[in-house]
């Protein structure tokens, strides 16, 4: 398992486009947003979360777009299938590595930009944790979308996985409100973590079945 973890981490490190690209796009989107409105007319810190949440959603998809397709194209998936007949460990490792190398920096970027847009420093750890748990959920769901549309392009992946993420957005909206008003934060956080962990346990199984279908 550790060998697999290192191998996947090594592979991702070399795919600069796969991990640095989404992070830079997130930074650019978050920079572009305040430029596009007249900040004097709006209370920016109240709705800046929305753009962070939406950018998190889109960048999570971008980040996981090629999570399996490159391995499919270079034949690695087929080799794994011939050896192990199962993709559970591969899917679990890949998602964990993506959360570690892309999800954590994304959450940090989101927290830093919230601070830059008027959110108080006390709230930053809360925002970071909420964003991190959300990326855990989103990466699982989008990895599933990516597995479904393996060699059929990003559009199909978005179409099939985006509707599944919308309840998460509702949950995130609630988390943001609890941060703003200071009540019930831990309950929502526990719910986010619970959903994230359940998905982390189940989704690799579903992804494994999906990938097997592609290779059978």
């Amino acid at each position: 398992m550790f060998n697999l973890l290192f191998a996947e981490a090594f592979k991702l490190r070399h795919r600069l486009r796969a991990w640095l690209g989404p992070l830079l796009i997130m930074v650019l989107v978050l920079i572009a947003f305040p430029l596009s409105i007249d900040v004097s007319q709006y209370d920016l810190n109240k709705f800046y979360f929305s753009i962070i949440v939406i950018s998190l959603l889109m960048i999570s998809f971008l980040a996981t777009e090629s999570i399996f397709s490159e391995d499919y194209e270079d034949g690695s998936l087929e080799q794994i299938y011939l050896e192990e007949k199962d993709f559970y460990k591969v899917a679990l490792t890949k998602i964990s590595i993506y959360v570690f190398f892309i999800g954590i920096p994304m959450s940090l970027i989101g927290s830093v930009f919230s601070f830059a847009n008027g959110v108080s420093a006390d709230e930053l750890p809360k925002i970071f944790v909420v964003l991190l748990f959300s990326t855990l959920i989103l990466f699982n769901l989008f990895a599933f979308g990516s597995a479904l549309s393996l060699n059929k392009g990003a559009m199909l992946g978005v179409l099939v996985s985006l509707p599944l993420t919308l309840p998460v957005i509702v949950l995130l909206g609630r988390a943001v409100r609890t941060i703003q008003y200071g009540e019930g934060f831990l309950e929502v956080l526990a719910l986010l973590l619970g959903v994230g962990l359940i998905l982390m346990a189940i989704m690799p199984l579903i992804i494994s079945a999906t990938l097997k279908t592609h290779l059978e």
Binding site: L156, P167, V170
Partner: protein, 223 residues
Amino acid sequence: MYLPYVMYLGFFLLAIGWVWGLGFAPQDAIQGNSYRIIFLHVPASIFAQLIYFFMAVCALMHLVWRVKLAAYLIKSAAPVGVIITFIALFSGSIWGIPTWGTWWQWDARITSTLILFIMYLGILTLHSSFSNLEKADRLMSILVVVGVVNIPIIKKSVDWWSTLHQPASITISEAPSIDSSMLYPLLVSISGMGLTLIALGILISRLYIFTREKNKKWVQNYE
């Protein structure tokens, strides 16, 4: 063989339910005549969810036991689901004007139903993306099973979130909160729509099975 009878009975019940509901049921004390859209909206909303649930059961059968027919039924039920979910959303939107003063509200029930509508379209798009139909069937089934998580969200959305949408008037576990003069035509409408959709579903699946199995001997010998 019995298909035309099921369809005619469905049409007949639907006609009775709608005429009874639109013409003879009393006015609502608060909403006046505008509430009468429930005779279309409520059955459509119920079946929008039931059809997905049916698809999920078929998807499980296809994934676990590899029942080919189950995949055909999913593929045939999905277009019916698209239409009926659209009717539910559209009729709800029309009802929104006199009651809420708006065509659309980003309310939990409405939004989760819209997600269901997109899910149906996503399922059809996914299936049509693969030329290997057996592979398409399995991938579609996996997506249907995963997407079933949206059904309890729709069902419980009015309880979990504070929403404009009213809670369910008819539940299995409790007595209905709707007066019997409105309840009976509603039940007749629901039964009529159910039978009509069953007949429509059988018709579409029959056509689909013939299309998929057109090279098989039994289809060529079929009179």
